[in-house]
């Protein structure tokens, strides 16, 4: 983590749907928390019995609120354990170590119109966006793709939302992405946050329609994608060899053996954890490295990427 950490205390947990848990966190020592703007997230250190998870969650509390941070966590069936821990173990009174808020997905202040597309739990950063836009009066529209049964789940956070549409997987209710993107005025900024397939489809559709890349913004939640075939990593500077298991990321394995590894987003987006590869072939899963850097094979983002070879030697 970058900089100081925060000690938080769980004030309330509340199941808002069968797989969605709302968690309210305050400063463990009392007093105000550092302020966070729309789109910010915090990284929570979740201490299980056998292992530790560090997961990033978007703050859904209104931007600037300093009395509490609120997050919503979806329980993922093929969870690596972090979301299951939040759903099964976490209870009021528990203490958690968290990063300071960071923001890799802030709204564009020069936009004349904000067009948001959310997929599933990817709606969470937009809950703070909507609060921000309602406060500033900025023109906005939110298009939510979700299960039919969850169209009302986030209503408490969307009272002030301007234009709001829900879509689900049934004839006549699916979002026509190309049609939506075709009719937007100049000065619109597009934001998408959802599963990788939705993100990719929206980004591709925007490019096809002629949107300038400067007006298309995406937040991936890639940590769930960090598992895979086990391999060995050798940290050349510290002389440590570590086995990377199938359900943990390379970064988590590095942290498990106590090596220092800077990181921020834990989703392959920010570039803070970029590490030199001395031997072996990386399997790139990040959204940060360019095509040439990927081909070069000399850099890796350990938070999401893994190895094609059975062994990687890292400059750590």
């Amino acid at each position: 983590m970058i900089g100081d950490t925060l000690e938080l205390i769980v004030v309330a947990v509340d199941d808002i749907a069968s797989s969605l848990r709302h968690v309210r966190l305050a400063a463990a020592g009392g007093g105000p928390l550092p302020p966070a703007a729309a789109g910010a997230n915090i990284q929570l250190r979740l201490q299980g019995a056998a292992r530790t998870w560090r997961n990033a969650y978007s703050l859904i509390s209104p931007p600037g609120r300093r009395d509490a941070y609120e997050i919503i966590v979806r329980r993922v069936p093929e969870s690596r354990g972090g979301s299951a821990f939040v759903h099964e173990v976490l209870k009021p009174g528990d203490r958690l170590v968290a990063s300071w808020p960071s923001n890799l997905f802030a709204p564009q202040r020069t936009a004349r119109h904000h067009l948001m597309i959310a997929g599933g739990i990817g709606i969470t950063p937009f809950l703070s966006y909507v609060a921000d836009f309602a406060h500033s009066g900025a023109s906005h529209a939110l298009h939510v793709c979700c299960r039919e049964s969850e169209t009302g789940t986030f209503a408490p956070w969307l009272q002030a939302c301007g234009e709001l549409h829900h879509y689900w997987d049934a004839d006549g209710h699916r979002l026509d992405i190309p049609a939506l993107l075709a009719r937007q005025p100049a000065g619109t900024h597009l934001y998408v946050c959802g599963p990788a397939a939705l993100n990719d489809e929206v980004i591709q559709a925007a490019a096809n329609a002629g949107w300038p890349a400067s007006h298309v913004h995406c937040e991936h939640f890639g940590a769930a994608l960090s598992g895979g075939t086990p391999f060995t990593a050798f940290l050349s500077r510290s002389g440590i060899e570590v086995e990377v298991g199938e359900s943990e990321s390379l970064l988590e394995a590095i942290e498990r053996v106590g090596a220092a590894a800077p990181c921020l987003c834990r989703g392959g987006a920010c570039g803070v954890c970029v590490t030199r590869v001395l031997e072996g072939e990386p399997e790139h899963r990040d959204h940060y490295l360019g095509a040439a850097e990927r081909e070069g094979g000399e850099l890796i983002m350990p938070c999401v990427s893994r190895a094609r070879s059975t062994r990687l030697v890292l400059d750590l």
């Binding site: 004349r112 993107l181 005025p185 100049a186």
Partner: protein, 193 residues
């Protein structure tokens, strides 16, 4: 004079149509047109010809152009037309400008007010190197400057014309050249012909 160590100094490149689904608007400063230039533009924009509008500003009546052609007399007229485009610009539209820097930036700043992003605007320089100069002392602009030292149209100071450029104002910076030793003004040279 088109290259500079100063990073704010814009660089221009030959226009090429980007094949997007939106409207493509090409605005050409007619009196900078050289032989063969329009033919080159017609080739460069063939791919979007069906969605192309070309505005010819102060062009000879005989000039031909690709796409749907509109003729305008002055840059002011073109600027007003840009700001009042029916239904405004779309996110997939592109604006292409060709001409002198004061011409292109007059229109680019107007398009910006109409909502167009700089990433939707392309520019190719043609014609004179004359500059619009913004006085850092009285904040007035002086048009059609071709010399390295210009007399400010607002405050009459002798201004040294810098390569520092403001995209918001569409103008180069001018600073008083004899501020240290009043009256000591170097020889003027016509460098932006």
């Amino acid at each position: 004079m088109m290259q500079s160590q100063i990073v704010s100094r814009p660089r221009y490149r030959d226009l090429a149509a980007e094949d997007t689904a939106g409207t493509h608007l090409l605005i050409v400063e007619g009196d900078t047109l050289a032989a063969g230039q329009m033919a080159a533009l017609a080739t460069a924009f063939a791919v979007v010809a069906a969605r192309l509008q070309t505005w010819l500003v102060s062009a000879p009546a005989t000039a031909l152009a690709p796409g749907r052609v509109r003729r305008l007399h002055t840059v002011e007229e073109a600027r007003t037309a840009l700001e009042h485009i029916e239904d405004g610009f779309g996110i997939a539209d592109r604006l292409y400008l060709q001409g002198t820097e004061p011409f292109m930036w007059s229109l680019a700043t107007a398009a910006g007010r109409a909502g167009l992003s700089p990433t939707q605007i392309r520019m190719q320089h043609a014609g004179s190197l004359k500059r619009r100069v913004w006085c850092t002392h009285c904040h007035q602009t002086t048009e059609n400057v071709t010399t390295n030292i210009a007399t400010c149209a607002g405050c009459a100071r002798a201004l040294l014309v810098r390569d520092h450029f403001s995209r918001r104002l569409g103008a180069f910076m001018g600073v008083m050249v004899d501020a240290e030793v009043p009256g000591e003004v170097p020889q003027r040279e016509e460098v932006f012909r």
